[in-house]
């Protein structure tokens, strides 16, 4: 009986909150990112899988108007771990009721941003935390919402590898942990 009551409670909580038409806050979520293992001096790809909540869209990285806010990733990496070749997917050209004649270039549903992590030869082997955020601005069919920042964090495990790199503790990354 207790289980049934809990189930009913959860179902109706969802119902009550979901009942509000269009009341869901616009959201973009990031799937968990597996730690990236990379040998210093070499590169490793990282894929960030984002999801835009149903009913909303966000501008692509290359929106159709200078006034629109592009979706953009800003990462803050340790000084000697380079993040390169950030690549955004192409957006979809979509028309909306508020601008039927002016298609917007947007992301909806799932989209993936990729980049390459490349620790320099000077990095000490170990684990490093990479932080950053995804700036986006969401709209639905009738309204827009202020720009938001979604935190992005993942771990990089740097291996020594076979090549001998110059060890320079003075340049150790500030995010070393």
């Amino acid at each position: 009986m207790k289980t049934q009551l809990v189930t009913v409670f959860v179902l109706f909580t969802a119902l009550a909150l979901g009942q509000s038409p269009g009341k869901k806050a616009p959201s973009v979520t990031l799937a968990p990112i597996d730690p990236v293992t990379v040998t210093r001096g070499k590169g490793a790809p990282v894929s960030l899988h984002f999801r835009v909540a149903p009913g909303f869209h966000i501008n692509s990285n290359t929106p159709t108007s200078e006034f629109l806010i592009p979706t953009a990733l800003k990462m803050d990496a340790p000084t000697d771990i380079a993040l390169t070749r950030t690549s955004y997917p192409a957006g979809k050209d979509m028309s909306f009721p508020f601008a039927p004649d002016e298609p917007l270039n947007v992301y909806t549903g799932d989209f993936t941003v990729t980049m390459t992590v490349r620790p320099l030869h000077t990095v000490q082997a170990g684990k490093y935390a990479i932080h950053g955020d995804l700036k986006y601005q969401a709209c639905d069919n009738a309204a827009c919402y202020p720009p938001k920042h979604l935190p992005v964090e993942f771990e990089v495990k740097v291996l020594k590898g076979t090549t001998s790199g110059g060890k320079n503790p003075a340049q150790s990354p500030h995010a070393h942990r």
Binding site: L15, A16, L17, Q19, G22, F67, Q137, A142, A143, C144
Partner: protein, 186 residues
């Protein structure tokens, strides 16, 4: 299966409570719908903001006129749809005492906002918004958000998101008909 009356009553109470909470949460949050009842009759919070030509404009200086107060941003597509309507409505109802005031809730520079406004052919007052003013008006977490204020400075209606032009006309007429008129400013 045996049914426990107490448990059924509990479930019914939970359902009723959830629906009540959901309904009222819906009324309070912005979503592209109107919820004028929440704020109708309350005084519009006064503020002073800078216009695009650098003048300080105080909302209460429009007392005696009806005000359509529109929170918008250059990055807001639905806001762009409303702007040509506002241009027409300012022409049509301005002589009767309507003043449309757009508050740009933008991070864009004054120059960019000015460029945008010029491109849109705006003929009404545009002010540079501040977060604090948005907070006074309930947070303005949805754009566009539009308030209709009567001649006495009281809120007549509030609309979230893109609405029909006819709804704007109805609210403008309501705002113009309430409160004490003073001679419309030029």
């Amino acid at each position: 299966m045996k049914r426990n009356p107490a448990a059924l009553f509990f479930v019914a109470a939970v359902v009723a409570a959830m629906l009540f909470v959901g309904f009222h949460a819906a009324r309070r949050s912005g979503d592209g719908s109107s919820d004028s009842l929440d704020v109708a009759g309350k005084p519009a919070p006064d503020f002073t903001l800078q216009s695009l030509d650098g003048k300080n404009v105080q909302l209460s200086s429009y007392k005696g006129q009806a005000v359509l107060l529109n929170f918008w941003a250059t990055w807001c597509g639905p806001c762009k749809i409303e702007m040509p309507w506002f241009v027409e409505l300012q022409k049509e109802y301005g002589p009767q005492g309507l003043q449309i005031v757009g508050v740009a809730m933008d991070d864009a520079s004054k120059e960019d906002i000015t460029k945008f406004v010029k491109e849109m052919g705006v003929n009404y007052t545009i002010l540079l918004g501040k977060e604090a003013v948005g907070q006074e008006y309930g947070g303005v977490n949805v754009l566009p958000t539009t308030f209709f204020i009567d001649r006495d400075g009281k809120i007549v209606a509030r609309e979230f998101g893109l609405q029909s032009r006819s709804l704007f006309v109805d609210n403008i007429k309501k705002a113009l008909s309430q409160g004490q008129a003073v001679q419309a400013r030029k």
